[in-house]
């Protein structure tokens, strides 16, 4: 799986589109919290959908699901891949070493 698209914020990512985290724009404790939850550069990620009022969004990263707000997701820049994300922990998500 190789990213091909340009940089877009995570909250603008098409639902279910597989993507790779490229960089985080935030700083301080908020940035570290996101990274501790697995949103580090290079992590494979996808947006599953949103909760009813449209915020927070639900993302898949590192085999688990997280709820995070648009505001924070906007600070996570990703590059999308051509294929769809396969839910759950799937080894095939990863590039062959």
């Amino acid at each position: 799986m190789r990213p091909s698209g340009g940089l877009i914020p995570l909250n603008a990512l098409e639902h279910r589109r597989a993507a790779v985290v490229v960089t985080l724009t935030g700083s301080g404790a908020a940035r570290q919290k996101l990274m501790d939850m697995g949103l580090t550069p290079g992590a494979h990620i996808a947006v599953e959908g949103t909760v009813p009022l449209g915020d927070p969004i639900i993302v898949w990263v590192r085999g688990s699901r997280l709820a995070l707000r648009h505001r924070e997701a906007a600070g996570v820049l990703v590059s999308s891949c051509p294929q769809q994300y396969r839910w759950g922990y799937r080894r095939s998500h990863r590039p062959k070493r």
């Binding site: 404790a29 940035r31 580090t40 927070p56 709820a67």
Partner: protein, 670 residues
């Protein structure tokens, strides 16, 4: 290595992510041999127990569940500092086998501390069901430590896990005996940080040198010097980025290498299927409200018969003791103190044990199932409107049981400001202790609409909490952007044993309060109401009567300028549920129980009118949280200032609202 030097039993800690089944494993290991205390300085629960390994007693400490050992949230800090300062003899790292990658991120950080460690690869049955074929041997090789598959809820693998733990302890002892010192701490590092290695090496030498110079030995540095070097680099945001990424990449690499499965099937997971309903665009909020309604319904309906039998029991005991004492011939004053002071007072409090325990049980089940994380996400949008975030939802809900528990639950919030605001507004949530006050007055004055009156007070409390949260969030400037990131754990069936234990622990605080603070306070109130000798309850010349008489005029604008009402409010500071008991004593209605309750209803009908009764209820809701709540505000914020703020703002707010209710009401009636 505390036990090598002293003769204290060896200490094993359980460390792991939230939702990894750590508590279930703790219960499986220690059984009933456990107790709950607090971590020093904070009121975060510290679970500690013992077990016997090869006829040797071992202390087991359950660390708070964390994703990392970073410098962030309180839970992380507690977990990290315990390992650094107390230096446990063994770490049992509980890893959720279905979430290997995320869990290994913590495992790697624990490995860097270089303390003997064993991994409990928990929920192994679930991983099998998901067809994740985990190669345990390979995982063992990658980590360089024993890995034992376990299913804590079914007590599988516990024996093997404890066997490994015992072996690690014995090994440490043997090494100590042979080498005569604690095993060399500077072995081959588990993590290499490519670009940072030169800097780490430099810092490590610096730390070693400093350690030797300052004390002649490095004994006070309990962890490898490399660990301190890396910690130092974690303080710099740029290097912290590199370190975090390197650890996660390593975790991902290990997870990839040990998970054999390579499915390309396209189906959704069971939890996603459930969430299609639970987070459905149209159904989510009706379901949410339905669950909250059901929670209160179960709490207050099911607990009613139990609470009634409690009441009957205490009435019986009171009557029995009264007869017994009379026949022995003790002074009437003493009998009155025991029966109407202590037994009636404590009984009045214990009557709330059933609803409180039931509420905590339902909340625990909802947490166990995984619904609370969804509820937090669903309420985030609403909570944000008042300056809080979804995570603050759980403390609020717990506040309906007992504000103390609600305030303790706020520790789960990462951001100090979110935490402070949640703590400060929690007392405005109507706890179970206020309910009987509402119920009594509603029954006395609003027979037809009593349900509505009680409901209105609950809503008023929520509204005020929102309003005050909004005000605090404007006044207290954020020092960093607070963020909402919450894991949505897979749905799981609740485990009866764990639900029982957790419910008990949460409710325990309440029972302890009933047994200590309230017992003391009840006695003091009784004494003040009956002294100096010759006066009695209902006498304005008693000490409490004099005090009430001084304060009473202040409440005349609110319609209840009677000193007895004021004294009832004063004793309500001890615990809000005491308001009734005090009114009972002051109006000479005797015990509040059984048929005698009608006596109290008649008495308050004489003393209040509907409008002043409602003003009194509003005051009861808002003014000074009870002593136990104040104590927890002090402890959790670690500040007398915030405790004082909560006293002052609630008294002012309560008084203003009560006056508004009474004055506006009087104006409208005329």
């Amino acid at each position: 290595m505390a036990f090598l030097i002293s003769n204290a039993p060896p200490v094993a800690v359980l460390a792991g992510n939230p939702n990894c089944g750590k508590t279930a494993l703790f219960n499986a290991i220690t059984g009933s041999r456990q107790r709950v205390g607090n971590w020093p300085g904070v009121t975060v629960e510290k679970r500690q127990g013992t077990t016997t390994l090869e006829s040797e007693l071992v202390t087991i400490v359950d660390l708070p569940g964390t994703y990392t050992l970073g410098l962030g949230a309180l839970d992380e800090k507690i977990a990290r500092e315990f390992v650094v300062n107390e230096h446990p003899d063994v770490i049992i790292n509980v890893v959720d086998a279905t979430q290997l990658e995320r869990n290994l991120y913590l495992t790697i950080q624990l490995l860097e501390m270089d303390i003997p460690m064993v991994v409990a690869l928990n929920m192994f049955d679930e991983a099998k069901a998901l067809d994740l074929q985990i190669d345990v041997d390979r995982l063992k090789k990658h980590l360089g430590i024993p890995v034992i598959p376990t299913v804590a809820t079914k007590k599988q693998g516990i024996h093997e896990l404890l066997f490994e733990t015992a072996r690690l302890i014995t090994d440490a002892k043997r090494t100590y005996k042979h080498v005569g010192r604690i095993p060399d701490k500077n072995r081959i590092p588990v993590m290499k940080y490519a670009a940072l290695e030169a800097e780490i090496g430099r810092l490590e030498r610096e730390i070693s040198l400093k350690a030797v110079r300052s004390s002649g030995s490095n004994a006070h540095l309990s962890l490898p010097h490399r660990w301190y070097a890396v910690k130092q680099l974690e303080r710099n945001p740029n290097t912290l980025d590199i370190i975090t990424k390197a650890r996660y990449d390593r975790a991902a690499g290990i997870a990839d290498s040990v998970i054999g499965q390579n499915l390309t099937a396209d189906e959704i997971t069971p939890s996603q299927a459930i969430d299609r309903l639970v987070l459905h665009p149209w159904l989510a909020y009706p379901i949410f409200l339905g669950i909250i309604w059901l929670m209160f319904h179960i709490t207050f309906t099911f607990s009613q018969p139990i609470a009634n039998s409690f009441a009957e029991f205490f009435a019986f005991i009171g009557a029995y003791v009264n007869n017994l004492l009379s026949s022995v011939g003790t002074p009437a004053v003493f009998n009155d103190f025991v029966v109407n002071g202590i037994i009636a007072g404590v009984g009045a409090v214990l009557e709330f044990a059933p609803p409180i325990f039931l509420l905590f049980m339902v909340i625990t089940i909802l947490e166990d199932v995984g619904y609370m994380a969804r509820a937090a996400s669903l309420s985030d949008r609403l909570m944000r409107a008042v300056g809080l975030h979804g995570g603050a939802f759980i403390p609020m809900i717990l506040g309906f049981g007992c504000n103390v528990t609600g305030i303790l639950a706020a520790r789960g919030l990462d951001d100090p400001r979110d935490r402070l605001i949640s703590i400060m507004v929690n007392p405005l949530i109507s706890c179970a202790g206020r309910l009987p006050v509402y119920v009594l007055f509603a029954a006395a004055f609003f027979t037809e609409k009593r349900g509505l009156v009680v409901f209105s007070l609950y809503i008023l409390g929520i509204f005020l909490a929102a309003l005050v949260a909004r005000i605090f969030s404007v006044l207290i400037k954020p020092d960093s952007a607070s963020i909402f990131v919450m894991e949505l754990p897979p749905y799981r069936l609740p485990r009866p044993g764990a639900v029982f234990i957790q419910t008990w622990e949460r409710g325990r605080e309440f029972l302890v309060k009933a047994g200590t603070v309230i017992l003391t306070a009840v006695s003091v109130v009784w004494l003040l109401a009956n002294l100096p000798l010759g006066t009695g309850p209902g006498d304005p010349n008693s000490y409490i009567g004099r005090f009430g008489t001084i304060l009473a005029p202040a409440f005349r604008p609110a319609g209840f300028g009677d000193w007895k009402a004021v004294v009832a409010l004063l004793s309500g500071i001890v615990a809000k549920e005491l308001i009734i008991g005090t009114l009972g004593v002051l109006y000479g209605a005797g015990t509040v129980y059984g048929t005698a309750e009608t006596g109290l209803i008649y008495a308050i009908r004489e003393a209040f009118e509907p409008l002043s009764a409602y003003a009194f209820l509003v005051m009861s809701l808002v003014y000074i949280p009870c002593i136990a709540t104040l104590v927890s505000i002090k402890r959790e914020t670690n500040s007398w200032k915030w405790m004082a703020v909560s006293v002052v703002y609630t008294v002012l707010l309560g008084w203003i609202l009560a006056v508004i209710v009474y004055q506006v009401g009087t104006f409208l009636v005329h």
